[in-house]
């Protein structure tokens, strides 16, 4: 058992180090862009997973990302606020929205919540389209300023190259993983995991389950808001077409592909699927079809996701011996 956790630590250290050093090995903007996307999409996927472990399916994660992006973009453009204020505010706004949506729907089991999030994903797009003066209508917000430069002694980070964005994304990613990990290890997290199995039991033993479910949902939305804010300032642009239901499905697929059992799952899922997505670019129009088939097959035949493959191989080998 101890051996296992040491292996895990070593793997995390190696992967982390490789990630930190990535810009040293490759300054190719294309590679860096994919790396940034993997980091940001992992944040979003982790947010879906934390709700999923409590037995609920959030298919509006892209909307929370969108609200973060739009809030941050609008504040920076209309009020001239600094990115470093807009970033946390975007997360808070997304989290407040999640609390408003979650309070009436997470009370009831399963079905209602997912339908409400489905509705939210379409309604949010309408709001951005309709509200020209604030959100720029169908064409979205153009010319969102990049983050203000940070000066650390003699070193100035100007955000004029992808490398700087990469490190910012990396920091956000590490914060997300750390918070998710602490949250899951905490009493709240352990309770959350018990809900799909023993909702009634938890309730009858005096656990006010609503509170924990809403907390998990808000946490996931908070990081989606941060991711959205980053994305808006990174692209200096955001539009209603960036945060659709389809985008949420992709995030959900990363979670399912990687495996819902652990925090590593959605990260591995995002990394593998985004890389695959780049490789399969010539077949772009078939992607939703491939995606649909993958969702169906993985849940049927490999419910543990990619992350369970080493275990499955080990089992197979053991059985042979």
């Amino acid at each position: 058992m101890k051996n296992n956790s040491t292996t895990k630590k070593v793997i995390i250290a190696i992967v982390g180090l490789a990630a930190i050093l990535l810009p040293v090995f490759s300054s190719d903007p294309y590679i860096l862009h994919i790396a940034i996307a993997i980091l940001i999409w992992s944040m979003l996927a982790l947010g879906i997973r934390i709700v999923l472990v409590s037995g609920h399916l959030n298919i509006a994660q892209a909307s929370f990302m969108g609200f973060g992006a739009y809030a941050s973009g609008a504040l920076a453009m209309k009020l001239g606020w600094s990115f470093w204020i807009c970033l946390p505010l975007a997360g808070v706004i997304a989290a407040i929205l999640a609390i408003i949506v979650g309070l009436p729907t997470l009370r009831i089991k399963g079905a209602y919540f997912v339908i409400i999030t489905l509705g939210l994903s379409e309604v949010s797009r309408r709001i951005w389209m309709m509200w020209d003066s604030l959100f720029g209508g169908p064409q979205g917000l153009l010319g969102i300023p990049p983050p203000d430069a940070i000066k650390l002694g003699g070193l100035a980070i100007m955000f004029n190259s992808k490398v700087h964005y990469f490190y910012l994304a990396f920091v956000l990613f590490v914060i997300t993983v750390f918070v998710m990990w602490r949250f899951e290890k905490s009493r709240t997290g352990l309770l959350l995991k018990s809900f799909p199995k023993a909702d009634m039991l938890a309730e009858s033993s005096g656990v006010y389950i609503m509170k924990y479910k809403v907390a998990a949902f808000a946490l996931g939305a908070f990081f989606a808001g941060l991711a959205g804010s980053f994305w808006a300032h990174y692209f200096t642009y955001c539009s209603p077409w960036d945060f659709t239901l389809m985008a949420s499905f992709y995030m959900l697929m990363y979670v399912v592909m990687g495996g819902t059992g652990s925090i590593a799952g959605p990260i591995v899922g995002s990394a593998v699927m985004l890389t695959l997505d780049e490789l399969l670019r010539p077949f772009k129009e078939y992607m939703p079809m491939i995606l649909g088939v993958i969702l169906i097959l993985v849940l049927r035949f490999m419910p543990g996701g990619i992350i369970s493959i080493p275990g499955l191989i080990r089992d197979a080998v053991m059985r042979k011996e």
């Binding site: 037995g55 609920h56 079905a111 509705g119 849940l299």
Partner: protein, 293 residues
């Protein structure tokens, strides 16, 4: 006043189509306990069905237009029902527990069917020339025969469904399974077959909805995205699992949506529907006709 009556007539048509989708959703939820996100795609396939038989491959061209139209609708319904039964038996049934899994699987089916329709039929809007030309003049309000036919068609299908569920042995068995599938199984009801029948019937009436109304608006791979959302709202409003509730919910949503789009704006309509949905969940989480489990 004219605008009002016109809107009312359109609202009734929209509500009835919505009811066809909502009833199916509700039936599937009641009997199979599945939130089926792919349900709207069966409505979409119904629309493509009539297009296929009337425009793309007009094999009934020799017949009187009305007969050809009705045959096209019926064949589409049967084909879609078979697709639905295959999906239920081979894709949904093996992953029925836990409920999140089957929901994600139904999302996968939805994506697949949408993309498959896109690849097979292309993204361009299709139209079908209706066999019902002309207008009915009711006082100052004119209403196209096409829309009137869709309304009558929807009412006929809802009535048939009511008779099946309320009056036949099969319907009784379906209600029994919805109440308690284990107890029903003990009584000798073949639940597996009931699942298939329920899925088949639900998909067939969704296809009927698409076949009746699709030609009036447009037919494309994404035509079901909005109706399915409104149908979900209707089902929540009526109470998950209650068929009269689904119909009532469909009317509330359909009429609200039509009036808000006419008088306020199209983007606003869906937002209002969403707010109604949230409002109902806050005030009465079990919906208008639902009951505590």
């Amino acid at each position: 006043m004219e605008v009002f009556l016109q809107t009312l007539a359109n609202g009734v048509m929209a509500s009835l189509t919505l009811a066809l989708i909502a009833i199916g959703l509700c039936l599937i939820f009641g009997i199979l306990s599945i939130i089926n996100f792919a349900h709207g795609e069966f409505y979409m396939l119904g629309g493509f069905g009539v297009w296929w038989f009337l425009e793309a491959h007009p094999i009934f061209a020799g017949m009187p237009a009305l007969v050809g139209y009705i045959i096209a609708i019926l064949i589409s319904m049967v084909v879609v029902a078979v697709i639905g039964m295959i999906v239920e038996k081979w894709i949904f049934r093996p992953v029925r527990e836990p409920h999140e899994t089957v929901m994600i699987v139904s999302l996968g089916v939805m994506l697949f069917l949408q993309a498959a329709a896109l690849v097979a039929f292309g993204p361009v809007d299709k139209s079908v020339s209706s066999p019902f030309a002309g207008l009915v003049q009711l006082g100052t309000v004119s209403f196209s025969n096409e829309r009137l036919a869709a309304i009558i068609g929807c009412i006929i299908f809802i009535a048939i469904l009511y008779v099946i569920i309320d009056r036949t042995r099969m319907g009784k068995a379906m209600r029994a399974v919805a109440m308690d599938s284990e107890a029903a199984e003990v009584q000798g009801i073949k639940t597996g077959m009931i699942f298939s029948v329920a899925m088949g019937v639900s998909c067939a009436i969704a296809a009927a909805g698409g076949a009746l109304v699709g030609p009036i608006y447009y037919i494309n791979p994404y035509m079901a995205v909005e109706p399915i959302m409104k149908a979900f709202a209707a089902v929540i409003l009526g109470g998950l699992g209650s068929l009269p509730g689904a119909v009532a919910g469909a009317f509330i949503i359909g009429l609200t949506e039509t009036f808000v789009s006419t008088y306020v704006g199209a983007h606003f309509a869906l937002i209002v529907v969403f707010l109604i949905m949230i409002g109902v969940l806050i005030v009465k989480p079990t919906g208008l006709f639902g009951h505590e489990e």
